[in-house]
Symmetry: C2
Subunit: 214 residues, 2 copies
């Protein structure tokens, strides 16, 4: 089965498998059954077997999964070592946090540039990088060929900058602006992160619980 | 139909409806058909009708939805004005960004306290609040009865502090630590935010695209 025919919902679960298996590896667990893994991950064992079968299946009947091997293979599928060059746009609070907090290198990316339109931020150090002015974007992209960008900018600016970046060769967006980017063509992929949506879901859950208690 | 019987996937889409309707309202749109809304949101029109029917259905055949009215109703369902008191644990980069960047008040919460174990951070101002030392947590919770907590702490600390906070009456967790909190009982709800998972999904998409081009 080719990678591209794997369903989106399976793909979305892979990072979670990868994380859980990493934990198990750290704890010294050598192998695990789909039942044990299902208990840890709050999925059904058959779900887990189905998911992993999409990629050829790694388990052995009666033996379970080799933790390191399975983790390594899922990492390969996700491309965690692929080091795609990525740039970050917007060096405000959020941008700075993402730049310093996120292990890009463990997740398939290499952060190679940080940009902001505010000239006062030019030269400010964030981790190993110095903030550059956004006017340098085009030249930087020609010289360094980043393929992905993190957008930590206000929503008013998101659509325009995304368009500009696409013309500079950016193919993937990790979008934190409060604006749903949509890829108009299949040459571009977008991950919209809406933290506010997650918070509202929590509010709903809490309020439902309170209603039930009344 | 009672709120509690609405499926989780519908609930997860509500914040997105709320956001899109807010945009439309700002642009001065008074009413919208499910077909127009579906184009904007990249959902099918029948999906939208189904979703909104879960809550009694707001549309009128041939007229569409009144944008402000629908937004207001979805906001009510989500409880965006419910102002649940919430505290934030961990005043590092991420915690500070969440505290200043997130409009809690528009999403059903009221941020009333920020805590950190580092005594050097005590008294530091973040927005309207001053960081308190974590030893004050119990007293603060008794006096102010927060019902929710944001966890912006290392994963090693997450399980222990979550347990402690539950004993102080916290019922909802917005968890940014790299650790899947699981509610062991139905009295507690958790939203785990794993930004790294989202980034890995992007890596997968980008790598799949590159593979196809080869």
């Amino acid at each position: 089965m080719s990678k591209n025919s794997v369903s989106n919902s399976v793909i979305r679960r892979l990072p979670r498998y990868y994380r859980f298996l990493g934990e198990l590896e750290k704890q010294g667990t050598v192998r695990i059954s789909s039942r044990e893994l299902s208990e840890k991950m709050a999925l059904t064992a058959s779900q887990i077997r189905q998911d992993l079968n999409c990629f050829g299946g790694f388990g052995q009947q009666g033996y379970g999964y080799n933790v390191s091997e399975l983790r390594e293979k899922i990492g390969e599928i996700l491309g965690v070592h692929s080091g795609n060059p990525i740039i970050l746009i917007g060096a405000g609070n959020l941008g700075r946090t993402i730049a310093t907090h996120m292990s890009f290198a463990e997740r398939g990316f290499r952060l190679i540039g940080i940009f902001d339109i505010d000239p006062k931020l030019s030269g400010v150090e964030i981790g190993d990088l110095k903030v550059r002015n956004s006017i340098e974007l085009e030249r930087f992209c020609i010289e360094n060929s980043p393929t992905a960008a993190v957008l930590c900018i206000p929503k008013e600016a998101a659509a325009e900058i995304a368009k500009r970046l696409q013309s500079y060769g950016i193919k993937a967006f990790w979008n934190f602006s409060h604006f749903d980017l949509r890829s108009e063509n299949s040459d571009v992929i977008v991950e919209n992160v809406h933290l506010g949506d997650s918070l509202m879901t929590l509010a709903y859950g809490l309020n439902s619980m309170n209603d039930t208690e009344k």
